[in-house]
Amino acid sequence: MLLGSNICYAIDPAIPLAASCAACHGPQGNSMGVTPTLAALNQDYFIQRMQGFKDGSVPSTVMHHHAKGLTNDEISALASYFAAQPRRTPTPLPHQTFQGAQ
């Protein structure tokens, strides 16, 4: 079942939505920093935490600003997506010396 519709998309709309979380939680939910890794997270736990951020019962610094903006269907879809992602050891960033551009 796709998000909010029965139309068959080549790309399930949950995938770009989940990809939007990557800025803080890393590609496919594998975080490089102190923000939690969401990959392979238990689906029920994901939903429970997000619903908690949404209703204020779980305190948060940032996440309530996102959880409150998402529908229950979107939270469930994100839970399924992240539960299905493998945990990966992140590849180091391709750091380079500044070469003088611009």
Binding site: A14, V34, T61, L70, H95, T97, A101
Partner: protein, 429 residues
């Protein structure tokens, strides 16, 4: 439980590609580099600009089409330099080396064709892009050229002046501005002018003021940061920045609103506004901005002759449906941030995969934006929102529940570092 195959294309779409290839149903304008045998089944997308938006679009087009879309990226610079965190170079807690990256990993891992060149003009009729050396044919074109600077309306400084950097694209000018601050005598004035919005990175100027004041506090405590803001008020995270100005940098930062430049003397480094004449020791003019040059050249900057109007379902230009525009060049009531650029890039990439596969794009896209600003070397503040497409208003609107930090904290500073690591990894790996 829903299934998310590693290969994100549905079986139906794959069958459709195969049919298309067999019957020649999909037109492919073709790069000379691709032989007939290796024609990509879905088509060829050219992306202009390898910043956060363009590189993200290229990468996700490759991944989400399972390699069935050929992607060529056109970028004149030889490396990626991150604007996010570049204000910390001015504050002294980061170096430009910390923010510079090779394009090689993204290019190789995702099989992106790379053309190190500048886009000069678009032949819309023939779907051809003219580069400074050669041409490129495309089925779909994505423009992610970032912002261009418009000095023409700055009274007294109608062209860029070498020792008055904008430092609004991370690079040489960031280093130049840091060096000017280091050379400035204690007791001097750092004057920064902010253009009327919209401009790239709404909280950026106020973060910069904090970073420079952080440096002054340690090295030049008798100096001052004077902000001349053409806007009626602080445009982003206002309460939080005011807290920092007052609690952390009392006497170091002066904020003057509605302070449009009436006359600027680039030799004397004076700025006249409606209210005063300010003498700068170090002058930082952040110029008014508009869509990148290639968008202007094709007449795509159809909002106030500055920004590009797009359809937020596909990011297709309202001027030319085969040209998609993402990132800072577009007109939107959305902040011009790196996270926003990557979120738009992903919606655009998904829509193009859908469209080239002969299917409809998701009519109601949703994405998130989180933007951190550092108020010193360790503490940060955020603004975070979910945005969803409103089909009536035909734009992305902020969902309920978004907002800003309660206060600056070291914890959010750690989150901000993690944000940078993760968005860089998502874009560059």
């Amino acid at each position: 439980m829903r299934e998310f195959p590693q290969h994100n294309l549905s079986a139906a779409s794959r069958r459709q590609f195969v049919r298309a290839v067999i019957y020649g149903g999909l037109a492919f304008a073709g790069l000379p580099a691709f032989g007939r045998a290796s024609r990509p089944p879905l088509g060829h997308v050219v992306v202009i600009g390898a910043g956060f938006a363009g590189l993200t679009a290229a990468k996700y087009l490759r991944d989400w089409s399972g390699g069935n879309i050929a992607v060529t990226l056109v970028e004149p610079n030889s490396q990626f330099v991150s604007c996010p965190q570049s204000n910390l170079v001015l504050g002294g807690s980061k170096t430009l080396d910390d923010l510079s990256f090779s394009y090689q990993t993204a290019r190789k891992r995702h099989g992106i064709n790379w053309v190190k060149d500048s886009a000069i003009a678009i032949d819309v009729q023939n779907r051809q892009l003219q580069l400074s050396r050669g041409t490129l044919a495309y089925d779909k074109l994505i423009l992610a050229p970032g912002v261009d600077f418009d000095y023409s309306h700055i009274p007294g400084m109608a062209i860029p002046v070498a020792d008055i950097p904008h430092a609004w694209k991370a690079g040489k000018q960031t280093l130049q501005l840091r060096q000017q601050l280091e050379s400035m005598p204690d007791g001097g004035n750092f004057v920064m002018t902010i253009p009327r919005g919209p401009y790239r990175c709404p909280p950026g100027p106020y973060e910069r003021a904090c970073q420079v004041a952080h440096y002054f506090k340690q090295a030049k405590p008798r100096s001052k940061v004077i902000i001349l803001d053409a806007n009626p008020d602080i445009t982003s995270k206002k309460g939080l920045f005011l807290q920092s100005f007052k609690n952390q940098y009392d006497g170091l930062i002066e904020y003057h609103n509605n302070s449009e430049i009436i006359l600027l003397d680039p030799v004397k480094k004076t700025v006249k506004t409606d209210f005063e004449q300010v003498q700068a020791d170090v002058l930082n003019v952040i110029p008014p901005q508009l869509a990148g040059k290639i968008a202007q050249s094709a007449g795509l900057n159809n909002v106030d002759q500055r920004w590009c109007e797009v359809d937020f379902v596909t990011y297709a230009s309202s001027a030319h449906p085969d040209i998609h525009i993402i990132g800072d060049s577009i007109s939107a009531g959305l902040p011009k941030s790196a996270h926003m650029a990557t979120s738009q890039a992903k919606i655009c990439a998904a829509a193009i995969v859908d469209m080239l596969a002969g299917q409809s794009p998701n009519p109601l896209p949703v994405f998130a934006n989180t933007c951190y600003s550092f108020v010193d070397d360790k503490q940060a503040i955020h603004v975070a929102n979910v945005y969803r497409y409103d089909a009536q208003k035909k734009t992305m609107v902020s969902a309920e529940g978004g907002g800003v930090s309660l206060q600056a904290s070291v914890q959010e500073g750690d989150f901000a570092q993690a944000w940078a690591q993760n968005i860089w990894t998502d874009t560059l790996n």
